[in-house]
Subunit: 352 residues, 3 copies
């Protein structure tokens, strides 16, 4: 169960260049390509002629051509032409609103009449020259909500990422969670601690001493349907922590767009945006490589957790204080699902 | 759904030499081997002793021996012997009519009382010294009818095989389709065009100029249950095309035997028979290699099309003029299925 | 269907050293680890916090720690602690009786109140310096009873293991099968025959001539739930065979512990214990390697037999004299299953 009336990240611009891209989003097989103006188009990945995936075709002068028998599909889902055929009565395929913005391609899988580009979240770091961004994509076999739980409870860093960003002080600092409308914020502050290896690397990357005590913070923000932005950083201790001046800290935003593929699989777009040394491409690459390794450590845990939960569907999960971020996020998701259900008359199955 | 009272190609003679061959045909696991006279035998692949596949056994003096405990199976499906056992009351396994003819091994999966070797199609090219044949086998995850559709509408060559046999003139020449009893013929003639790469290779192979305009033809013949023979060729333009004298053309027969393994998988025996330079083994090998590559290009399309159709079982496919060959072939198949059903009382589920 | 109130071999001691081991036994996912005293502990492999597999965690000072968020699990299934949490009300996970004995780790998957370590079979060869043991583990996709059948009817050696331990005289010597309480014994004696290659190797390993006639024996003993010990050996002919003095024979015990993973898969612990040259580690390794190859020959046969039986669930298997060992063993299993069912009120489905 996932909200369908929402903007999800479907892919990155580099994935849709000359060739069409096939990708299942929220249970629907879609094809993405660029029209003659370079604008991204999303359609159902199904040729109305014989059911071939349109994503196996090609783009000719901005028109998507089926790779089986040459049907030319229009960007609105209506067939434009086919050699030797009158195509006026061909059934249309479903078009999906798609927008390229902030370095991502967004798609709206639900009611197309409700797709309003103004609802795409504003990402300040994506538009400002003061910021640099690097990221990647993982395909993971788990319910998207398990990844939200994961990101809204960073105590797991101590265990899953023990050698890079984990440290025992995370466990010892209880998080504070609050709900602000449809946003959930869970935050944790640690003072006068040693920086773990990843953050020592970031301090050095910012030209700062890495062997002095630091203050560290993690501020996780969930917004629907499944975006989690996490402000993270360290500052030399005693300068105000999160509020410390830029000259004594290394701070960044962990970016997580979690797009359901099916009920039990996701496209996980992860990345990190930073506002120090934004022009240092080598640092961007180094941070991206480090983050890729770290975030890869979650995959087996999430997939095996999913298998265990499918095996014991009747077991409830504990909802501790550290889980409050995920629990609150799921409540917002459940509210959105109920609203969609009320609008469509299709009953919603609640999953704990 | 596939007719079972029909001869299907099960394998090629080289696949059944010293060792038994296990292969599922029309949903039934079969074992093929040769008796003491070298005649091919087909049986249910199930040892009546403990259910082991007989195809894991061996052949001793023309008798199939189970590789688990040594049961000796007779060519009629009755146990001949087993060390230390009286086998008279052992349950029999089902024998299947199998005939080696025209370079293939044919099997009749249905009512054995109706298996008449005279119904095996005559293949002139297989028996005459004027012809040479080369071919291969692909295992594809699709309904056998999707492959019939594929072969009865060669407009797909323009798209799937763009670099070898495809050309835009195929699209531009509407096919003519007619039904003659249980046979469907769909044909297309193109005049005064450039030969595509595969046919330029064939012209050169036949000692003909490859850089002059040609007339090209494709005459597809479906016969039940799922055989498609396609007369294809090019002649130097203006000499009568299909009717041109042998000295100015390169012509051949594309051979397609499509044997259902399950409802959604096939054994696809493909090949090409030609009546020029039949003794040129190097040319045979070269054509076979080229055809193997070309026909391999269909696999992903067919398998992905199958997945799309399974996902949307309620969607009808378009039936355009170019699809007439497949549509008519399916009507003949449906008629055969209905006849089998009427004979057995088992209802037939029609699939569009 | 497998008895659950029984001791099964779960793993070998080397598999549970510093790290926890996850393994499914009788349909239940379990985690094994060692406590502070080195004693093996078995628990349900499910963290009560969020359902992560505990086997992905680690052991700290003899306590199992969940690798996701650091929950500390006690050896009785109750949570000992978790950073920042009061754990008193956390739901417990199920503990399983586990005992390290005779070179194996045993687990009792059923009613824990009935788990009595005194019921673990006594294995004389495992405790005496006069014996040496070598073995291994195979994971096989078949019902555990197919492996019992396999081991209680060694005529298959003639076919499956033709080049190592098989010989036609096995077929020719009818086995004698008897039931003694819950034990089934099926035995076969062959006199004045040639030793097959494996036994020639063993004779040489024991410093005996390998090119003289021998007497050979196979005495298979099934005990519930699924243990099969097989006394095997050869003696120079005419010295009493099985009863011959040690100086003229090479004898050993084939050890088979068959542990159901699911209804159609097993953990198969195989090995060989011998009481000649017990200190010759090179001989142990050589025998182990040979046995590993030989026992590996059964895998495809068992898995393909299983597939055939699943396809034709209604077909009965023949019960010949050679099958008596397996048939009798299954009757004992069925009696145990019925007793378990009577105790729990859950109906038992009998499978032939």
């Amino acid at each position: 169960m996932y909200p369908k009336n929402a903007w999800y990240v479907a892919c990155t611009p580099d994935e849709v260049q000359d060739k069409p891209l096939g990708r299942q989003i929220c249970g629907e097989p879609l094809v993405f390509y660029r029209d003659a103006n370079g604008q991204v188009v999303a359609l159902e990945d199904f040729c109305p002629h014989r059911g071939a995936p349109l994503s196996l075709g090609f783009v000719r002068d901005g028109t998507l051509v089926c790779g089986y028998h040459g049907l030319e599909m229009g960007c609105g889902g209506k067939t434009l032409g086919m050699p030797g055929q009158r195509v006026g009565v061909f059934p249309a395929v479903r078009p999906y609103a798609a927008v390229e913005r902030h370095g991502f391609i967004w798609v709206w899988p639900g009611d197309q009449a409700k797709a309003d580009a103004a609802l795409i979240p504003h990402l300040e770091w994506a538009e400002s020259p003061d910021w640099a961004y690097g990221g990647g994509l993982y395909h993971i076999q788990c319910d998207y909500r398990l990844m939200i739980d994961n990101l809204m409870d960073l105590t797991h860093e101590t265990y899953v990422h023990a050698s890079s960003i984990g440290q025992k002080e995370i466990d010892e600092a209880p998080p504070a969670t609050r709900v602000d409308g449809d946003e959930v914020i869970t935050s944790r502050h640690m003072e006068n601690i040693s920086a773990p290896p990843f953050w020592r690397m970031a301090l050095r990357g910012n030209g700062l001493a890495d062997d002095v005590p630091v203050d560290r913070w993690q501020i996780c923000r969930f917004t629907p349907p499944s975006h989690v932005m996490i402000e993270v950083g360290v500052a030399h201790a005693g300068h105000g922590g999160y509020e410390a001046p830029a000259a004594v800290k290394a701070a960044s935003v962990v970016v997580d767009f979690i797009t359901p593929e099916t009920e039990t699989s996701i496209w996980y777009f992860w990345g990190m945006a930073r506002n120090f040394k934004p022009d240092d491409a080598e640092l961007t690459a180094s941070i991206r490589e480090g983050q890729g390794k770290i975030f890869g450590e979650d995959l087996e845990m999430l997939e095996r957790q999913q298998q265990n939960l499918l095996r014991y569907p009747e077991r409830g999960l504990l909802k501790l204080n550290i889980d409050a971020g995920g629990v609150q996020s799921r409540q917002i998701i459940d509210r959105l699902l109920a609203a969609e259900q009320a609008a469509t008359g299709i009953p919603v199955r609640q999953i704990a």
